[in-house]
């Protein structure tokens, strides 16, 4: 029985309003609904239906103080404002077709991104889709269909917003899969795994109990390119904020190392050390140089826990190449004065130090990201990695991969699991008939072929990095159709302008897109299917990433679906029906049955009956009564490396990576010893290079504060926040570019001016945000802004900085993306001139407070 409405006539529904993307969720929110209207979205209160005695929340005791979960979920503003996303002026309410795409005549691929859309019926859309799929399969074989099912979207379970088509395409005969690169992990994934294993992500594992370990044992926290007041919002909420205040209260010093005074630095830092974007490798090396020179590292530990230290030391001290990697050497490269480097090295060596990371960040997502990541692991090793208080602690993804070893906060007794009810595609599945790493899709299409190492899944182990692959795979077709959901390629991956050119390539005969909003890659589709949002569907959800209390809850729809929208799963069901595969696709299971299966296999069904769960609306999973005794981080390896070895070939910390030595000994971009690589065959993106004479500023591009990757960019209540958008003289809300007053003044740029951010890969317009929160020489622009083409593939007005990030991957043999730490020039834009040159683009209908919208791209309303 569902709970009846309250005295105000409002019914409360608990929903997972988070965006981590697969079946396990976060940000449990209470949605109050009345008469088919969403009244409000608020934090979930744990104790509305349970007592504290029943729930038994964890309590951390450290240094005479205590810390426990809040009584409510700590949701971010992104969840509270979600009504605005649901009712965005960019919502797609009906099926649409690009006006000049005619599968029986001219397809006009060159007009993708400029020609408009017309509303069509579901029937017509399904007819066109089924006919194209059958034709393409017959003409080229099923691997001609590129399945893009790995992008940034909402969190759903039964209605899986990611890759519902994958199962159908398997039944249809096959596909070519776009494989997500280990984005935001790339440095650790392609680099640190070769130092310390730590499969499958490459960031330290176990993470178990590290929040407690820090609270008890750590003296110094280094937040390295980490913003726990930003990046974690969409994944888990704001416990890290409370924790950071508590750590200050406990007297644990916090130093933040990043080009910007990011949102965590702004309120938590004891010290901010500004560093030029993507020069962190040089700083780590100089710190190691200090330690080697002064003997201020744990030599005994390295004798038993590390391999190849001598070769690394040779490089650091200059015995290999004649260049000592001293603080004086690193100062000009990093912008960090040598005396500060020396002081930092001394302090780190004298205190129990943990490095906090929050995925991505300016320290890790650039060209050659493997190097700073490996050096970070090595620095931790030199000071006794795994010793109480000395680890790499993640501020994000607590409980990732259904793995308790990824649980930095106090552990729950049970990790709930909803994968049995999930209809989308999971990235863990491998053994595809044909695949392309996401980062290489533009190259594959534009060039017609490519080859690479590894990346068969973002969760494969180190050994997979030595396997060679190619496109087209033997016996498989080139790509002629793209089927995408939750599309966000342009504004989130490497060189979006190349991907735009790929989507407009004549080889691509048909692009099918399903999405709730007309934005980014959806602007280039031939047929767009209207998808509804999380608040419009019946589902089952969980909150396992908050670090507070874990929840399981049935999710009733809050409102009826808008227009003719359906869920991703339902859309694929409709296509399956046209192809005669519906029964096979669904396995005969209805949506209510899938929800029930989710509950039954959730691992907590024995603790609460379905009826009681429906009546209460949510279940709070108790804390593991023995959580305090779970060994913290790598302490077992620290204490006994023979018995608890790492998963590297030697079982030790490999300062000289034996796997890389065996397979890529002469790789100048990722050799066995990690190095500072200012320039190489793949990239020329540092100051001091020839390119830097033309493009003298280094871009730092962080995960966005006011959205999750490509999402939330149309939420009016966020866009009016001063660091979210800059409203310029033409009334358009431009994406902010942080620029130091010194750099702005040198270019005649005032706060609020529209500026061109450009390099040889294109131009992005932005709003100048002149601030001391970014160091001179660097400019900051969050990724994820909605692409708003002035000239598709060349000029963007929306601020999608990823259109001009490097086109090459992390390095030749590591196909991660490089999306921060690259060169541009910035100048004041001439709006009049741009308007005169591109009148159509500048006259396109744009919502005054929400930005680019559906009225701007449709004919006759849709």
């Amino acid at each position: 029985m569902k709970r009846p409405p309250n005295a105000a006539g409002e019914t409360t529904i608990v929903r997972d309003i988070s965006w981590c993307g697969v079946f396990n969720g976060a940000n449990a929110s209470m949605v109050d609904v009345k008469d088919g209207k969403i009244i409000r979205i608020r934090p979930a209160r744990y104790y509305e239906r349970y007592t504290k005695e029943e729930v038994k929340p964890w309590v951390m005791h450290a240094r005479g103080k205590t810390f426990e979960p809040s009584d409510k979920s700590l949701v971010p503003p992104l969840s509270l404002a979600y009504k605005k996303r649901v009712f965005s002026p960019a919502r797609i309410r009906y099926p649409m077709k690009r006006i000049d795409w005619d599968p029986k005549g001219e397809r006009n691929p060159q007009n993708r991104g400029t020609s408009k859309y017309v509303r069509i019926s579901w029937d017509e859309a399904l007819d066109l889709i089924a006919a194209e799929m059958l034709r393409i399969k017959k003409t080229y074989g099923p691997t001609a269909i590129l399945n893009q099912s790995d992008q940034h979207g909402e969190n759903k379970v039964v209605h899986g917003p990611h890759g519902c088509m994958r199962k159908l395409l398997t039944q249809f005969g096959g596909y070519t899969l776009q494989i997500r690169d280990a984005d935001s992990w790339e440095g650790w994934w392609w680099g640190s795994k070769h130092v310390w294993g730590c499969e499958p992500v490459g960031q330290q594992v176990p993470q178990s109990n590290l929040l407690y370990d820090i609270s008890k044992n750590t003296e110094l926290l280094l937040f390295w390119g980490c913003d726990q007041e930003t990046t974690v919002w969409g994944w888990q909420g704001q416990l890290t904020s409370r924790l950071s205040y508590w750590w200050t209260e406990l007297g644990i010093k916090q130093i933040y190392i990043a080009p910007d005074c990011n949102y965590a630095t702004a309120v938590h830092a004891d010290k901010w050390i500004p560093i030029l974007p993507n020069t962190d490798a040089a700083l780590y090396l100089a710190i190691c140089h200090e330690w080697f020179e002064n003997g201020t590292y744990d030599k005994e530990y390295l004798e038993t826990h590390a391999y190849g230290v001598d070769k690394f030391e040779d490089y650091v001290m200059g015995r290999e190449d004649g260049v000592a990697k001293s603080p004086e050497w690193a100062g000009p490269i990093t912008g960090v004065p040598s005396r500060i480097i020396k002081a930092l090295a001394a302090e780190w060596a004298s205190k129990r130090t943990t490095i906090c990371i929050g995925n991505g960040g300016p320290g890790i997502r650039g060209p050659y990201a493997t190097e700073p990541a490996r050096l970070q692991s090595i620095c931790l090793g030199m000071q006794g990695l795994g010793k109480p208080g000395c680890n790499q602690a993640k501020m994000i993804e607590w409980g990732l991969l259904d793995n308790m070893e990824q649980m930095s906060p106090p552990a729950p007794a049970i990790l709930t699991d909803l994968h049995a009810a999930y209809t989308g595609s999971t990235p863990m599945l491998t053994n595809h008939p044909s695949f392309i790493p996401k980062t290489l899709v533009p190259k594959a299409i534009l060039q017609g072929n490519c080859d690479w190492y590894g990346n068969e899944s973002e969760f494969t182990s180190r050994e997979n990095q030595f396997v060679h692959y190619k496109y087209p795979a033997d016996g498989c077709s080139k790509i002629h159709m793209i089927w995408t959901d939750s599309p966000s390629w342009i504004t989130c991956w490497n060189n979006g302008n190349d991907f735009i050119r790929a989507m407009r390539h004549p080889d691509i005969e048909f692009i099918l897109c399903q999405h709730p909003w007309i934005e980014n890659d959806a602007l280039f589709a031939d047929i767009v299917l209207p998808i509804n949002t999380i608040l419009e569907e019946d589902d089952i959800g969980s909150d396992i990433f908050s670090g507070q209390m874990n929840l399981l809850f049935p999710e009733d729809r809050c409102i009826e679906p808008l227009g003719e929208s359906v869920s991703d799963y339902e859309a694929v069901c409709r296509i399956a029906e046209r192809l005669g595969l519906l029964e096979q696709y669904t396995g005969g299971r209805t949506i209510p049955e899938l929800i029930k299966i989710g509950y039954e296999t959730s691992r907590v069904a024995h603790l609460i009956s379905w009826d009681e769960l429906r009546e209460k609306g949510y279940f709070v999973v108790p804390t593991d009564p023995d959580w305090e005794s779970i060994p913290a981080g790598l302490v077992k390896f620290y204490e006994d490396p023979e018995k608890y070895p790492l998963s590297t070939p030697t079982g030790k910390l490999e300062f000289y990576s034996t796997g890389l030595a065996e397979h890529f000994a002469d790789d100048p971009e990722r050799g066995p010893v990690p190095k500072w690589i200012p320039i190489g065959p793949s990239h020329e993106e540092t100051l001091g290079t020839e390119r830097a004479k033309t493009y003298p500023l280094l871009v730092m591009s962080n995960h966005p504060r006011w959205g999750v990757h490509s999402q939330h960019d149309d939420v009016t209540w966020l866009r009016e926040i001063e660091t979210c958008k800059v409203r310029a003289s033409d009334g358009y809300q431009y994406h902010p570019l942080w620029i130091n007053p010194a750099d702005a003044e040198a270019r005649g740029i005032d706060n609020g001016d529209v500026v061109s951010v450009f390099n040889d890969r294109g131009t992005v317009l932005a709003g100048a945000y002149v601030t001391e929160r970014i160091m001179p020489g660097a400019v900051g622009i969050d990724h994820g802004a909605k692409y708003d083409p002035v000239v598709p593939g060349e000029i963007d007005r929306g601020g999608a900085i990823n259109t001009i990030v490097p086109r090459n991957t992390t390095s030749k043999n590591a196909c991660g993306h490089a999306v921060s730490g690259f060169l541009v020039e910035v100048e004041k834009a001439d709006l009049e001139d741009l308007n005169a040159k591109y009148p159509e683009a500048f006259a396109r209908t744009c919502h005054v407070a929400a930005g680019p919208c559906i009225a701007g791209v449709t004919e006759g309303g849709a």
């Binding site: 608020r42 700590l74 005074c261 926040i721």
Partner: protein
Amino acid sequence: MGKVMIIDLSICNGCHNCQVACKDEHVANDWSPIAKPQPDTGQFWTKVINLELGTVPKVQVTYHHSICQHCEDAPCLEACPQKAIYRRTDGVVIIDPGRCRGNQLCLEACPYENVIYFNDDLNIAQKCTFCAHLLDQGWSETRCSDACPTGAFTFGDEDDPKIKEKIAVSELLKPELPTRPRVYYLNLPKKWIAGAVYDKEADECTEGATVTATNAATGEKVTTTTDNYGDFWLKNLSDGAYTILIEKPGYLTQKLGPIDATSKDQNLGDIVVWKA
């Protein structure tokens, strides 16, 4: 049993949950007779103000908050000829949307910034209601305090001993006014002077130097010691101009200033000291 709000700026992380939750509650929801809907954008019945302080690398952000102070002696209430503004028994000051005729005298009368807004479409003045419609339903929080993740907002009854304790150590926004607000602040921003001392010849941060700031007008002294990066922060300064003295045995004493910390916080940058 009057309601009060206490806002602690030292634990505001700037997430804007308060500002957004207020919009979620009041935009497109009609809570008459307490409040008519707020326009989608442009009004902030509780507003976060981003104060970026200092220069690279001594930069901090303080998030200040504007919200109706629900004054006991409310100038807006007196200024309204329509008598559209009233005080409830719980102290909450309400602009009755049914009586307001849009003469905007309350906007002029309010001595605080970013409190009363004018809604052109509805021709009424609007502002924070302490979510009185929710209090009347039995809520113990306002939407902004409910949404705050860090506890920077405390809402409650002025007679509650825990609230009284907090009020006792709090400050008022404009203490010189006779308005007797129901909103209290903890840790309102005070000015600071910071810098970094180093020995250029040794290329070394100078630790343990004594830094003294003397207020030129009052003679008030504030002292601190440089840390292992040579950094010093002289915090909680009263407005005024200061002379700075940097002393360390074995080094020549450095004198700087006067530095004016009246209008903004001051980063003096890198300061070289020379061996004596």
